[in-house]
Amino acid sequence: MPFDPAFTSSYIVAFAMGLASSLHCIGMCGSIIGTLTLSLSPNVRGSNYLLSAFVLNYNLGRLTSYMLAGGFVGIIQSITVMPFGEHGYRMIQILSAIIMASSGFYIAGWFSRFAYIEKVGLILWKKLEPYGRRLIPVSNRLQAYLFGVVWGWLPCGLVYTALALAATAGSAEKSAFTMLAFGLGTLPAVMGVGIMNGVLTRLSRMKQFKKAIGIFMITLALMAAMPWLNPMVINTHTNMHVTNH
């Protein structure tokens, strides 16, 4: 394997990122989740079993799109960076760390301009979004899944941050799985919003909480830029040199 990524712990990091960032965006994504659940027919909403099946399908759809995007980023990465060998890989790693740190500053409330990164996906979203709207009101599980697939492409700075991390995973496959890990990390907050609405909204409004999450993201970014700081990867890092020479 030519590229054993220095940052093998990226699945764990991606999962942690998903967990932290989704708590932050409950305010924004909250209205979409609310729309999704409340637009279901009353007999679905009345049955816990049916409701969870629908909610699960929304989220499976979303995760599918995340994985697709991750795989895509992985391919792009391998085409553009491979020719430059380890240096190229290092560049991507630093770039990804910069994006991660910026999103940390954004979440903490110190860098609101970061939200402009959302413009990146706007063109694609404008193309996809009408299909999503045509699926409403969602009446069966396939539609729920498809709506989730569209929802996955909603412009979101934190998803792009996860993609930046995924780009450092080393292969299309690993990038896709990094995105899956990120998506799984977002599940507790997104699925829980119906149940713990009050708690989550209150938590996501607290300034100190946001700062803590922001600093957490910045720490992750530092570890991504300087893998030797990360206790979990020291071995693989030295291994990489061995396999590469």
Partner: protein, 318 residues
């Protein structure tokens, strides 16, 4: 057709809110719009209605703060003849009249507690009981509510029902204050100048760079409504001209002063702040021939603060 194009702005905060609104518009879900006064809550509510499947059905906007408390229940849910003094006829109420359509409940924060309960029941079951009747009526109405105060605070104060809040807040849409998206100010100005130029058949004015900077640093307590009014006033007063900082109305004075004072440099040897303050007050009074309101304005103080400081430094109040 994009019904949301009437909402001017390109800032990420606004755009992501509109993305959620578009999805919510396709459903029949109740919506809660939050935002300070003048941020465009009514504009958004209308866009949502126009983009919904109820676009061709009736739309009614009701300001909950504008109706006297005693009247609001019968206004919303109707009453039977003789249910209370003055009820000379059967009245169906708005919820019945708008059947199939959309109702916009503005300033829902001022809805009396008793009626909040009735509204909650309606949202849960689609049913309500008119005053003086015993049988529930059913109607199919989509509710869009708006608030300009923090409902969480009202809940703590016991003035708003938490269950109603949760029921409405499932689809929260928050309109950002204008000062939080000052990058949209250029777009809005262009839009309003063009609009008023066409409306009044006059050439559009433009802002000088410095004036634009002052506008971007201003706090806009009246948000977009305030900006719109300013643009209309200046369009008429200064049609076709360049608007300088000096042409801006009084409210902008403070921002202007802040911008200027950036140039004040503390001398190497330091200053005696108390003495300097007393001296500045003296100069201001001297320049305005003792007019305290004008002096206060020169110093960026309120008249009361000036009077207080004059006393502090022992200036004769006459």
């Amino acid at each position: 057709m994009d019904y949301f194009s009437s909402i001017i702005g390109k800032s990420p905060e606004l755009e992501s809110m509109i993305r959620s609104a578009k999805i919510a518009a396709c459903t029949d879900v109740a919506i809660l719009i939050k935002g300070e006064t003048g941020t465009g809550k009514e504009v958004l509510a209308r866009a949502i209605q126009k983009a919904s499947r109820r676009a061709n059905k009736s739309f009614l906007s009701l300001n909950c703060a504008a109706l006297p408390e005693g009247l609001i229940e019968s206004e919303l849910f109707g009453h039977k003849k003789g249910a209370f003094t003055g009820a000379n006829n059967n009245s169906p109420g708005i919820f019945k009249a708008v059947d199939g359509g959309t109702i916009f409940l503005d300033e829902i924060n001022s809805l009396p507690l008793a009626i909040q309960g009735k509204l909650l029941r309606f949202l849960d079951s689609g049913e309500f009981i008119p005053i003086g009747e015993t049988i529930a009526h059913k109607t199919n109405v989509r509710v869009i509510a708006a608030t300009n105060t923090d409902l969480n605070r009202l809940i703590i104060e016991g003035k708003f029902r938490q269950d109603l809040f949760f029921r409405l807040n499932v689809v929260p849409l928050e309109l950002p204050a204008l000062k939080k998206r000052s990058e949209d100010i250029d777009l809005l100005i262009n839009y309003f100048f063009k609009y008023f130029a066409e409306l009044h058949s006059i050439p559009t004015p433009s802002f000088s760079k410095a004036a634009l900077k002052v506008l971007k640093n201003y706090s806009w307590p009246g948000n977009i409504r305030e900006l719109r009014n300013l643009c209309e006033r200046l369009s008429i007063l200064l049609a076709g001209k360049t608007i300088e900082v000096e042409n801006l109305p009084y409210e902008f004075e403070q921002v202007r002063e802040i911008n200027k004072s950036e140039n004040f440099i503390l001398p190497e040897c330091g200053v005696k702040l108390d003495q300097l303050e007393a001296d500045l007050i003296y100069q201001a009074l001297d320049r305005t021939k003792g007019n305290r309101s004008k002096s206060a304005r020169l110093l960026g103080l309120t008249r009361d603060t000036l009077l207080y400081r004059m006393q502090k430094y022992g200036f004769g109040l006459n």
